[in-house]
Amino acid sequence: MEPRDFLTLAEKLVVAKNAGAAHFRTATGRAYYAAFHQVSKVLGELGFPPAESAEGHVQAVRLLQRSGDTNLEPAGGLLGDLYILRRKADYELQRPDVEKMISAQKAVEIARSIFDDLDSFVADQSRRTSVTACLKPLYKSITGKT
Protein backbone atom coordinates (compact mmCIF):
# COMPACT_ATOMS: atom_id res chain seq x y z
CA MET A 1 0.00 0.00 0.00
CA GLU A 2 1.17 3.49 -0.76
CA PRO A 3 0.88 6.42 1.69
CA ARG A 4 -1.04 8.33 -0.97
CA ASP A 5 -3.88 5.82 -0.60
CA PHE A 6 -4.61 7.29 2.81
CA LEU A 7 -4.86 10.72 1.23
CA THR A 8 -7.30 9.40 -1.36
CA LEU A 9 -9.43 7.94 1.41
CA ALA A 10 -9.33 11.24 3.31
CA GLU A 11 -10.51 13.08 0.19
CA LYS A 12 -13.40 10.63 -0.19
CA LEU A 13 -14.42 10.94 3.44
CA VAL A 14 -14.61 14.73 3.17
CA VAL A 15 -17.10 14.60 0.29
CA ALA A 16 -18.95 11.46 1.39
CA LYS A 17 -22.71 11.61 1.32
CA ASN A 18 -24.09 12.44 4.78
CA ALA A 19 -20.57 12.99 6.08
CA GLY A 20 -20.49 14.17 9.67
CA ALA A 21 -18.16 14.75 12.59
CA ALA A 22 -16.71 11.23 12.59
CA HIS A 23 -15.97 11.41 8.85
CA PHE A 24 -14.23 14.75 9.18
CA ARG A 25 -12.21 13.73 12.22
CA THR A 26 -11.20 10.50 10.48
CA ALA A 27 -10.33 12.33 7.27
CA THR A 28 -8.01 14.57 9.27
CA GLY A 29 -6.28 11.51 10.72
CA ARG A 30 -5.90 9.82 7.34
CA ALA A 31 -4.54 13.03 5.79
CA TYR A 32 -1.94 13.24 8.54
CA TYR A 33 -0.90 9.60 8.23
CA ALA A 34 -0.65 9.93 4.45
CA ALA A 35 1.81 12.78 4.88
CA PHE A 36 3.66 11.16 7.76
CA HIS A 37 4.18 7.86 5.94
CA GLN A 38 5.27 9.63 2.77
CA VAL A 39 7.81 11.64 4.76
CA SER A 40 8.99 8.43 6.44
CA LYS A 41 9.29 6.73 3.07
CA VAL A 42 11.34 9.52 1.53
CA LEU A 43 13.58 9.80 4.59
CA GLY A 44 13.94 6.02 4.65
CA GLU A 45 15.02 5.99 1.01
CA LEU A 46 17.72 8.49 1.94
CA GLY A 47 18.84 6.16 4.73
CA PHE A 48 17.30 8.10 7.62
CA PRO A 49 14.04 6.38 8.61
CA PRO A 50 12.21 7.69 11.68
CA ALA A 51 11.45 5.16 14.42
CA GLU A 52 8.47 2.86 13.90
CA SER A 53 6.98 3.96 17.21
CA ALA A 54 5.24 6.99 18.66
CA GLU A 55 8.57 8.83 18.73
CA GLY A 56 8.72 8.46 14.96
CA HIS A 57 6.21 11.30 14.60
CA VAL A 58 8.46 13.73 16.41
CA GLN A 59 11.54 12.40 14.64
CA ALA A 60 10.00 12.83 11.18
CA VAL A 61 9.28 16.49 11.90
CA ARG A 62 12.71 16.98 13.41
CA LEU A 63 14.54 15.34 10.50
CA LEU A 64 12.77 17.56 7.97
CA GLN A 65 13.34 20.67 10.04
CA ARG A 66 17.04 19.93 10.33
CA SER A 67 17.49 18.85 6.74
CA GLY A 68 19.09 22.09 5.67
CA ASP A 69 16.73 22.20 2.67
CA THR A 70 14.80 25.44 2.28
CA ASN A 71 11.63 23.63 1.17
CA LEU A 72 11.79 20.59 3.43
CA GLU A 73 12.29 22.64 6.59
CA PRO A 74 8.94 24.44 6.20
CA ALA A 75 7.35 21.11 5.21
CA GLY A 76 8.51 19.81 8.59
CA GLY A 77 6.64 22.67 10.23
CA LEU A 78 3.52 21.84 8.23
CA LEU A 79 3.78 18.18 9.25
CA GLY A 80 4.14 19.19 12.90
CA ASP A 81 1.08 21.43 12.67
CA LEU A 82 -0.87 18.68 10.90
CA TYR A 83 0.14 16.28 13.66
CA ILE A 84 -1.39 18.62 16.25
CA LEU A 85 -4.55 18.90 14.15
CA ARG A 86 -4.75 15.10 13.91
CA ARG A 87 -4.22 14.83 17.64
CA LYS A 88 -7.09 17.25 18.30
CA ALA A 89 -9.30 15.32 15.90
CA ASP A 90 -8.48 11.99 17.56
CA TYR A 91 -8.42 12.94 21.22
CA GLU A 92 -10.35 16.14 21.85
CA LEU A 93 -13.91 15.03 21.29
CA GLN A 94 -15.34 18.16 22.89
CA ARG A 95 -13.83 20.41 20.19
CA PRO A 96 -16.38 21.36 17.54
CA ASP A 97 -13.87 23.11 15.26
CA VAL A 98 -12.30 19.82 14.10
CA GLU A 99 -15.74 18.43 13.27
CA LYS A 100 -16.31 20.86 10.43
CA MET A 101 -15.89 19.92 6.79
CA ILE A 102 -13.62 22.90 6.26
CA SER A 103 -11.24 21.62 8.93
CA ALA A 104 -10.94 18.23 7.21
CA GLN A 105 -10.51 19.99 3.84
CA LYS A 106 -7.71 22.00 5.39
CA ALA A 107 -6.00 18.84 6.63
CA VAL A 108 -6.23 17.27 3.19
CA GLU A 109 -4.85 20.42 1.56
CA ILE A 110 -1.93 20.58 3.99
CA ALA A 111 -1.14 16.93 3.30
CA ARG A 112 -1.25 17.59 -0.46
CA SER A 113 1.12 20.47 0.03
CA ILE A 114 3.57 18.21 1.88
CA PHE A 115 3.32 15.61 -0.90
CA ASP A 116 4.10 18.33 -3.47
CA ASP A 117 7.16 19.39 -1.50
CA LEU A 118 8.37 15.81 -1.24
CA ASP A 119 7.74 15.08 -4.91
CA SER A 120 9.82 18.04 -6.03
CA PHE A 121 12.53 17.07 -3.56
CA VAL A 122 12.71 13.46 -4.72
CA ALA A 123 12.99 14.60 -8.33
CA ASP A 124 16.07 16.70 -7.58
CA GLN A 125 19.26 14.65 -7.18
CA SER A 126 21.36 17.60 -5.98
CA ARG A 127 18.91 18.35 -3.16
CA ARG A 128 18.88 14.70 -2.13
CA THR A 129 22.66 14.67 -1.99
CA SER A 130 22.73 17.85 0.03
CA VAL A 131 20.11 16.66 2.55
CA THR A 132 21.87 13.33 2.92
CA ALA A 133 25.09 15.11 3.80
CA CYS A 134 23.25 17.35 6.24
CA LEU A 135 21.34 14.59 8.07
CA LYS A 136 24.14 12.04 8.24
CA PRO A 137 25.88 13.57 11.28
CA LEU A 138 22.54 14.43 12.95
CA TYR A 139 20.66 11.18 12.48
CA LYS A 140 21.92 9.39 15.57
CA SER A 141 21.23 12.31 17.90
CA ILE A 142 17.70 12.70 16.49
CA THR A 143 16.67 9.04 16.44
CA GLY A 144 19.14 7.27 18.69
CA LYS A 145 19.83 4.93 15.78
CA THR A 146 23.08 4.61 13.85
Binding site: R62, P74, G77, L78, R87, I102, K106, E109, S113
Partner: protein, 207 residues
Protein backbone atom coordinates in the same frame (compact mmCIF):
# COMPACT_ATOMS: atom_id res chain seq x y z
CA UNK B 1 -2.80 50.25 23.47
CA UNK B 2 -1.74 50.37 27.09
CA UNK B 3 0.48 53.11 28.44
CA UNK B 4 2.56 52.44 31.50
CA UNK B 5 5.69 53.42 33.32
CA UNK B 6 8.36 50.85 32.75
CA UNK B 7 11.33 50.30 35.04
CA UNK B 8 14.79 51.15 33.87
CA UNK B 9 15.81 48.27 31.66
CA UNK B 10 19.36 48.44 32.94
CA UNK B 11 18.10 47.84 36.48
CA UNK B 12 16.07 44.90 35.31
CA UNK B 13 18.84 43.31 33.33
CA UNK B 14 21.14 43.72 36.33
CA UNK B 15 18.78 41.64 38.40
CA UNK B 16 17.96 39.19 35.69
CA UNK B 17 21.58 38.56 34.91
CA UNK B 18 22.50 38.18 38.55
CA UNK B 19 24.63 35.04 38.94
CA UNK B 20 22.51 33.94 41.91
CA UNK B 21 19.42 33.87 39.74
CA UNK B 22 21.26 32.18 36.92
CA UNK B 23 22.61 29.59 39.27
CA UNK B 24 19.20 28.98 40.71
CA UNK B 25 17.79 28.61 37.20
CA UNK B 26 19.94 25.58 36.66
CA UNK B 27 19.76 23.99 40.06
CA UNK B 28 16.25 25.05 41.05
CA UNK B 29 17.75 25.78 44.45
CA UNK B 30 15.50 25.95 47.47
CA UNK B 31 16.52 29.42 48.59
CA UNK B 32 18.25 32.52 47.40
CA UNK B 33 19.46 35.53 49.37
CA UNK B 34 18.64 39.00 48.20
CA UNK B 35 20.43 42.13 49.38
CA UNK B 36 18.61 45.33 50.34
CA UNK B 37 19.51 46.89 47.06
CA UNK B 38 18.21 43.97 45.07
CA UNK B 39 14.95 43.99 46.99
CA UNK B 40 14.49 47.68 46.38
CA UNK B 41 14.96 47.26 42.66
CA UNK B 42 12.74 44.22 42.68
CA UNK B 43 10.00 46.23 44.35
CA UNK B 44 10.31 48.79 41.57
CA UNK B 45 9.95 46.02 39.04
CA UNK B 46 6.94 44.74 40.92
CA UNK B 47 5.24 48.12 40.63
CA UNK B 48 5.65 47.94 36.89
CA UNK B 49 4.29 44.42 36.92
CA UNK B 50 1.27 45.58 38.85
CA UNK B 51 0.79 48.40 36.37
CA UNK B 52 0.73 45.92 33.54
CA UNK B 53 -1.78 43.70 35.29
CA UNK B 54 -4.00 46.64 36.12
CA UNK B 55 -3.95 48.33 32.77
CA UNK B 56 -4.21 45.51 30.27
CA UNK B 57 -6.76 42.82 29.69
CA UNK B 58 -4.79 41.20 26.92
CA UNK B 59 -2.40 39.07 28.87
CA UNK B 60 -3.58 36.36 31.21
CA UNK B 61 -0.96 34.99 33.51
CA UNK B 62 -0.98 33.53 36.97
CA UNK B 63 -0.07 36.20 39.49
CA UNK B 64 1.79 34.59 42.35
CA UNK B 65 3.56 35.44 45.58
CA UNK B 66 2.22 38.89 46.37
CA UNK B 67 3.99 38.71 49.70
CA UNK B 68 7.30 39.10 47.89
CA UNK B 69 6.43 42.72 47.22
CA UNK B 70 7.35 43.53 50.80
CA UNK B 71 10.58 45.43 51.20
CA UNK B 72 12.13 44.24 54.45
CA UNK B 73 15.20 45.69 56.07
CA UNK B 74 18.35 43.65 55.67
CA UNK B 75 18.83 40.60 53.57
CA UNK B 76 16.04 38.15 53.07
CA UNK B 77 15.82 34.55 52.08
CA UNK B 78 13.20 33.83 49.47
CA UNK B 79 11.47 30.52 49.19
CA UNK B 80 11.13 28.70 45.91
CA UNK B 81 7.61 29.89 45.21
CA UNK B 82 8.61 33.48 45.96
CA UNK B 83 11.62 33.20 43.74
CA UNK B 84 9.37 31.88 41.01
CA UNK B 85 7.12 34.88 41.45
CA UNK B 86 10.06 37.25 41.30
CA UNK B 87 11.24 35.62 38.11
CA UNK B 88 7.84 36.06 36.60
CA UNK B 89 7.66 39.72 37.57
CA UNK B 90 11.10 40.48 36.27
CA UNK B 91 10.65 38.58 33.08
CA UNK B 92 7.29 40.15 32.57
CA UNK B 93 8.76 43.61 33.04
CA UNK B 94 11.73 42.77 30.91
CA UNK B 95 9.61 41.83 27.96
CA UNK B 96 6.92 44.41 28.64
CA UNK B 97 7.78 46.43 25.56
CA UNK B 98 7.63 43.27 23.49
CA UNK B 99 4.33 42.36 25.07
CA UNK B 100 2.90 45.69 24.02
CA UNK B 101 3.99 45.27 20.42
CA UNK B 102 4.37 41.70 19.17
CA UNK B 103 2.25 40.06 21.81
CA UNK B 104 -0.35 42.76 22.10
CA UNK B 105 -3.77 41.17 22.09
CA UNK B 106 -2.38 37.68 22.63
CA UNK B 107 -3.73 35.50 25.42
CA UNK B 108 -0.97 33.40 26.94
CA UNK B 109 -1.73 30.77 29.55
CA UNK B 110 0.35 30.90 32.71
CA UNK B 111 1.75 27.48 31.88
CA UNK B 112 2.78 28.58 28.40
CA UNK B 113 4.35 31.70 29.83
CA UNK B 114 6.37 29.69 32.33
CA UNK B 115 7.40 27.32 29.54
CA UNK B 116 8.73 30.22 27.51
CA UNK B 117 10.73 31.39 30.48
CA UNK B 118 12.37 28.17 31.56
CA UNK B 119 10.36 24.99 31.50
CA UNK B 120 11.08 23.99 27.95
CA UNK B 121 13.94 21.86 26.77
CA UNK B 122 17.52 23.15 26.60
CA UNK B 123 18.26 26.74 25.55
CA UNK B 124 18.96 25.62 22.00
CA UNK B 125 15.37 24.64 21.31
CA UNK B 126 13.37 26.52 23.94
CA UNK B 127 10.84 28.98 22.57
CA UNK B 128 11.34 32.34 24.27
CA UNK B 129 8.77 35.09 24.54
CA UNK B 130 10.73 36.96 21.90
CA UNK B 131 10.41 33.95 19.59
CA UNK B 132 6.72 33.80 20.35
CA UNK B 133 6.33 37.49 19.59
CA UNK B 134 8.15 37.11 16.27
CA UNK B 135 6.00 34.10 15.40
CA UNK B 136 2.78 35.96 16.15
CA UNK B 137 3.96 38.81 13.96
CA UNK B 138 4.64 36.36 11.15
CA UNK B 139 1.19 34.83 11.60
CA UNK B 140 -0.41 38.25 11.36
CA UNK B 141 1.54 38.96 8.18
CA UNK B 142 0.38 35.72 6.56
CA UNK B 143 -3.21 35.24 7.77
CA UNK B 144 -6.32 37.37 8.17
CA UNK B 145 -6.56 36.75 11.90
CA UNK B 146 -9.84 37.33 13.69
CA UNK B 147 -9.80 38.10 17.42
CA UNK B 148 -7.08 37.26 19.88
CA UNK B 149 -4.54 34.50 19.34
CA UNK B 150 -4.37 32.05 22.21
CA UNK B 151 -1.15 30.35 23.30
CA UNK B 152 -1.34 27.13 25.29
CA UNK B 153 1.11 24.52 26.42
CA UNK B 154 -0.15 21.12 25.30
CA UNK B 155 1.20 17.72 26.29
CA UNK B 156 1.40 14.93 23.76
CA UNK B 157 -0.99 12.15 24.79
CA UNK B 158 0.98 9.56 22.86
CA UNK B 159 4.56 10.39 23.76
CA UNK B 160 5.85 10.79 27.30
CA UNK B 161 7.45 14.09 28.33
CA UNK B 162 6.75 15.84 25.05
CA UNK B 163 4.85 19.10 25.02
CA UNK B 164 4.37 21.92 22.55
CA UNK B 165 3.38 25.51 22.52
CA UNK B 166 0.28 25.73 20.40
CA UNK B 167 -0.80 29.04 18.92
CA UNK B 168 -4.50 28.91 18.18
CA UNK B 169 -6.08 31.48 15.89
CA UNK B 170 -9.29 32.04 14.01
CA UNK B 171 -8.96 33.18 10.42
CA UNK B 172 -11.06 34.45 7.55
CA UNK B 173 -11.06 33.10 4.02
CA UNK B 174 -11.14 29.82 2.14
CA UNK B 175 -9.20 26.60 2.53
CA UNK B 176 -6.72 27.07 -0.31
CA UNK B 177 -5.81 30.65 0.55
CA UNK B 178 -5.33 29.75 4.21
CA UNK B 179 -3.19 26.73 3.44
CA UNK B 180 -1.12 28.99 1.22
CA UNK B 181 -0.85 31.40 4.14
CA UNK B 182 0.13 28.44 6.30
CA UNK B 183 2.90 27.54 3.86
CA UNK B 184 4.11 31.13 3.91
CA UNK B 185 4.11 31.09 7.69
CA UNK B 186 5.95 27.75 7.74
CA UNK B 187 8.67 29.29 5.55
CA UNK B 188 8.99 32.34 7.76
CA UNK B 189 8.90 30.29 10.96
CA UNK B 190 11.66 28.00 9.68
CA UNK B 191 13.87 31.05 9.18
CA UNK B 192 12.84 32.76 12.41
CA UNK B 193 12.99 29.78 14.72
CA UNK B 194 15.24 27.21 13.10
CA UNK B 195 15.19 23.98 15.11
CA UNK B 196 13.02 25.62 17.77
CA UNK B 197 10.09 25.34 15.39
CA UNK B 198 9.57 21.73 16.46
CA UNK B 199 8.34 23.03 19.81
CA UNK B 200 5.86 25.52 18.40
CA UNK B 201 2.80 24.58 16.40
CA UNK B 202 0.00 26.51 14.78
CA UNK B 203 -3.66 25.61 14.81
CA UNK B 204 -6.11 27.74 12.84
CA UNK B 205 -9.85 27.55 12.66
CA UNK B 206 -11.25 28.87 9.39
CA UNK B 207 -14.40 30.86 10.12
Amino acid sequence: MTTMLLPNTHDLSTIWDDPCLRESDQKISKTITFTDEMIAVRAKAYQAFQAIVETTEHITIEVKGAQSSETPIGSRVLEDRQLKAVRSWLAFCRIASTVLSGLSGVRISGEAFEYCLRKGPGPESRITLEDLSASINAIRECFSVIGSPLVNLVRDPEIDNVCYLVIEIQVRGGVKENVKAHRDFAGKAAKLLGVKRENLTLHYDII
